[in-house]
Symmetry: C2
Subunit: 327 residues, 2 copies
């Protein structure tokens, strides 16, 4: 069976995601046309996943479809914004209907869950590369930026850190996840849950926010730089999942918290909160499964410092994943 | 010199294009935030260019940067929409500052000319692939769709057809454009002029519109399908540039008009107009350099028919470029 570009779009993507009544023109014309509600600002996030760079080549098509949308929704969470419409640029080496159907299904499951409609994009032939853009809204002037952290603010992180990074390391060692623990780690890598409700709840509470895609140290570093401040974290305070701790112990890896500090792909939220609003934040998070934890404090002195259990400073590499760093 | 992903964004892209005061948050946060004016609908177009597929691998970086934006602006023209903000997903195999600077300059020249600001995107390492999304506005309910053509409407095309396709064919034969004619053709391929003013002028006049990216026959075919109509074109009526005619003659290619019917990449506008509005359209186009020409008529009977000089039907392949067709 040979499907044309147009057949592919019609068959797999035209119905992907939610149905929204603010879409005037969806897939099938030169451009999409939608209605932005009054009093809202338009928010746009775009991220690319490249095969072999952002995910192992053997990753399942449905996981790629899911994750390509999830990483953008995570950016929305980090702005306190609500997603509405997605566009998809899919470059694929072959016209493989089974692969395309699985990819579209993975994308669609998350899109439906989050009320997002796929309204346009482009399908082209070439090395596997997926770019998704998500567009949506935030009430006027209420987007949570990276630049608002102030000395004295408390640093929080949602959920737990290091699971995805641990999965990726094991994958790179020729891993085939079998046990329940391993499958949990693989899910954390392949199916990150964008913290959308949590992000929206933090509007008006968090002074700065970012999602942890490149690693906590690197991403918190962006907040520090944009805000012109520094921070000290307690290594012991980093939230580690029970699975992460078990697998690290089984590997003889005693420095789990150090991996959690630098590993990317967790898509948790890292945010800063003025002390006066801490109680409100913790009340809000009581409603969320993922929870949140205080991991440090914002300080005037630039730079990121990490204290170990005995109070001594941890020396670590600041950088997260840099796509153009020498391999 | 080694630049990080963040250096690249700061150095080459943060200042690309126009400065707009409706941009609340541009490059440098998790997402961009902009203001959509009241009474306007939001329009979004996304297109990908893959090296070796959409442009020859030896294409200059500045031409790739220009064209990646131009093909999206052409979609805007075909909707009668006004562009405002662009996002860019650039996947490149190396961190080559000279290449990146040239790419950004080509992109920026066209962005400034058209009042477009680059507000976000992603830079990743991988095989050269460029996805651009342009977002902008159209007055409520006034987007020109593909679906409005009615029997009796006249079919127009702007500018001339075939120049870009002829350049691409010559390029594939190991071409190095030297003469003024050759350079003109290369410009038509590498630096297509999006017909933005023309497209906006056709709001309320054209009943349907598309831009000619895959070839006239294929793209007009999309209008016919979306509108549930057919058309007959006169092969002799296709507008051919003097350069195109000279080069075809020099090549001993007597069937220039047939190439003009099927060749893509011209980014002219193909549109349909009710007879009662023809005079208005031609008055409007008197102000535009590119001009426009009647090439056929919309009919009730489905399908595209092309008449040759002697009135006999031309048999031709309907399809334009299909990215997933067997090579």
């Amino acid at each position: 069976m040979t499907l044309s570009e147009f057949d592919i779009i019609r068959r797999y993507f035209a119905a992907a995601g939610a149905r929204r009544n603010d879409v005037a023109v969806g897939i099938g014309d030169d451009a999409a046309v939608v209605d932005v509600p009054r009093g809202r600002q338009l928010v746009l996030a775009m991220d690319t996943l490249v095969s072999g760079v952002h995910f192992p080549e053997e990753t399942r098509a449905e996981d790629i479809g899911y994750k390509a949308l999830a990483v953008n929704l995570s950016d929305f969470a980090a702005m306190g914004a609500e997603p509405a419409w997605a566009t998809l640029a899919l470059t694929a080496p072959r016209n493989d209907p089974a692969w395309l159907a699985a990819f579209a299904e993975g994308f669609s499951v998350l899109a439906r869950d989050t009320g997002v409609q796929l309204i346009g994009g482009d399908t082209t032939r070439g090395p596997l590369t997926v770019t998704v853009q998500v567009q949506g809204f935030v009430p006027h002037g209420q987007a949570v930026l990276r630049s608002g952290a102030r000395p004295g603010d408390v640093v929080y992180v949602s959920g737990s850190l290091g699971d995805a990074g641990l999965a990726l390391r094991r994958w790179q060692q020729g891993w085939a996840p079998i046990s329940i623990d391993e499958q949990y780690l693989a899910m954390r890598l392949n199916r990150p849950v964008p913290r959308l409700a949590e992000g929206c709840a933090l509007r008006g509470l968090a002074s700065a926010m970012i999602d942890v895609s490149d690693g906590l140290a690197a991403d918190l570093g962006h907040i520090l730089e944009a805000s012109g401040v520094g921070a000290t974290l307690a290594l012991d305070a980093l939230p580690l999942s029970p699975v992460f701790q078990r697998v690290c112990a089984a590997m003889g890896q005693v420095q789990g918290a150090r991996l959690a500090l630098s590993a990317g792909d967790d898509y948790e939220l890292c945010f800063t909160v003025p002390a006066a609003r801490q109680e409100q934040v913790e009340r809000q998070f009581a409603a969320f499964d993922c929870g949140c934890r205080v991991i440090g404090v914002i300080e005037e002195r630039a730079g990121l410092r990490v204290r170990q259990t005995d109070g001594s400073p941890l020396l670590f590499e600041h950088g997260g994943y840099d796509h153009f760093a020498a391999p």
